[in-house]
């Protein structure tokens, strides 16, 4: 036990990515100085919840947290997958926070993963479950994840913060052996815009106002805009009132560019402690325009994915077999840059990054690390 060489890391930054990469690379990690300088030190409830989730989907994995929660020791086990998992994500972060690492880990399991996640489905901090359903899962298909049944996300209940009460059912297939490298640099032109606007426990009229405002912006660009409305009440609407919208632009080459926002009566939590007054709620019209503007800015940036999905894209490229992947993104985000650094540290994959001055985009090339699905049962 004492012979295991732990990789030493500091701080809670990018904890999810580090855990994902550590699990896939089979590297045990020690994370020290987790918020040790802050007034409330240690791991946050959502981070502990994520660790519990990792424990439940893998076998023989070891998680040790010290008394104050400022030090974490993680030894990855074998990813098992399997059916009938249930995880309560808590109310400190939305389900999107847990989905991001889960969809990558699920692919490298022994059995296909079916898991029911409970908590907050839509908030502004993390990508909403709608965005996952419409955009994120389709990115996986580019890398040779089996298309068809087995890759699915059902939103059974919606839950807005602060009380949550949402519930989704996620199905992730396993990759038979490895992912396949992607040559994905042509973003094409936007041919249609789709979206979902939702409301929970409030007047359904609000949704129409959000949609109307968003459409108003798109009218000067493209006529093919359809935004669905999803109004939830009673049991399927969770515990709190809220509304939001998730938009996706589909291009001629099948790229999906997404943007989402949500509004809810969030109680002043630890992040907003400094602000004394309650954050103002955005009116529906403003929210619609905001979402539309965000989408247009993503389109303006260029690239085959939006800024939110850069991290996922890079990780998928790095997990490919030793073959050249080439992708194009818009401006690199801080999260994307951190991802590139983490990939280098864990998988030893360095990207060749070149700006493309004509379009203002960035071209990235890498040779995959050739991670195989070792947990898979070999018959």
């Amino acid at each position: 036990m004492g012979k295991v060489a732990y990789k030493k890391l500091k701080g809670s930054k990018n904890l999810r990515q580090r855990l994902v990469l550590a699990t896939l690379a089979g590297t045990p990690v020690v994370v020290e100085e987790i918020r040790s300088e802050e007034t409330s030190p240690g791991l946050r409830p959502y981070e502990v919840s994520l660790l519990r989730l990792l424990e439940s989907i893998s076998d023989d994995c070891l998680v040790e947290i010290n008394e104050t929660g400022t030090k974490l020791r993680y030894k990855p086990g074998v990813l098992m997958g399997g059916k009938r998992h249930i995880h309560d994500c808590g109310l400190s972060r939305s389900i999107g926070y847990f989905l991001e690492p889960l969809i990558i880990l699920g692919l490298f399991g022994k059995k296909p993963l079916t898991i029911r996640l409970k908590g907050i489905t839509n908030d502004s901090k993390d990508p909403s479950v709608d965005t996952f359903r419409t955009t994120t899962l389709h990115i996986l298909k580019r890398f040779g994840v089996p298309i068809g049944d087995g890759l699915d996300l059902k939103i059974e209940r919606r839950g807005a913060p602060p009380l949550g009460g949402g519930e989704i059912l996620l199905q992730i297939p396993i990759v038979p052996n490895t992912l396949s490298a992607a040559h994905w640099i042509d973003e094409g032109m936007v041919k249609r815009i789709r979206g979902i606007a939702f409301s929970t426990k409030i007047s359904p009229q609000i949704v129409n106002r959000v949609i109307y405002a968003a459409r108003g912006i798109f009218n000067s660009f493209i006529p093919d805009v359809h935004i669905f409305s999803d109004h939830r009440t009673n049991a399927t609407g969770g515990g709190s009132p809220g509304y939001g919208i998730s938009l996706v632009a589909e291009t001629t080459t099948g790229c999906l560019i997404s943007a989402d926002v949500a509004v809810s009566d969030r109680k002043a939590d630890e992040m907003e402690e400094e602000m004394d007054e309650k954050p103002k709620l955005t009116p529906p019209e403003e929210l619609g325009e905001q979402a539309a503007s965000m989408l247009l800015e993503e389109i303006e940036q260029g690239g085959v994915v939006d800024s939110t999905h850069q991290g996922l894209l890079f990780i998928l490229c790095a997990l490919c077999p030793p073959d050249v992947s080439k992708v194009r993104v818009g401006k690199l985000t801080p999260y994307g840059i951190e991802t590139l650094r983490n990939i280098r540290d864990f998988l030893g994959v360095t990207f060749d990054i070149k700006p493309d001055p004509n379009s203002g985009t960035v071209l990235l090339k890498c040779v995959g690390s050739g991670i195989k699905n070792l947990s898979r049962k070999i018959s």
């Binding site: 100085e33 987790i34 502004s124 901090k125 990508p127 001629t252 800015e297 939110t308 650094r341 060749d352």
Partner: protein, 108 residues
Amino acid sequence: SKWKESLIARTLARRSVNLMQLVYGQPVSNQASAVSDSSESEQSDDEDFFKPKGQANKGIDDKSSFDDINAEDCSKFPKSDLKDWHARDLIESIKDRFVTGDWSKAAK
């Protein structure tokens, strides 16, 4: 003079940032010097040995998220100020990114 302005603007636009360096840091030779710098600064820190926790927290907030080892883990990159997409020239600027725009221009 005026005729130079367009030239300067064009050169600036052409000059590409070395993204490799931005992401993966300086080459090894420079890194060594950077390390020695930080140890010096640590020595000077000895004077204020006891730091109230709250103050340390504020110092971190001022720094960019790259230096903060406890930065929030969030893949969304929120933009503080959104442009006004009602503006005519802004609409024109990305019109060709849509199928309704000019196809020959978009095919770069």
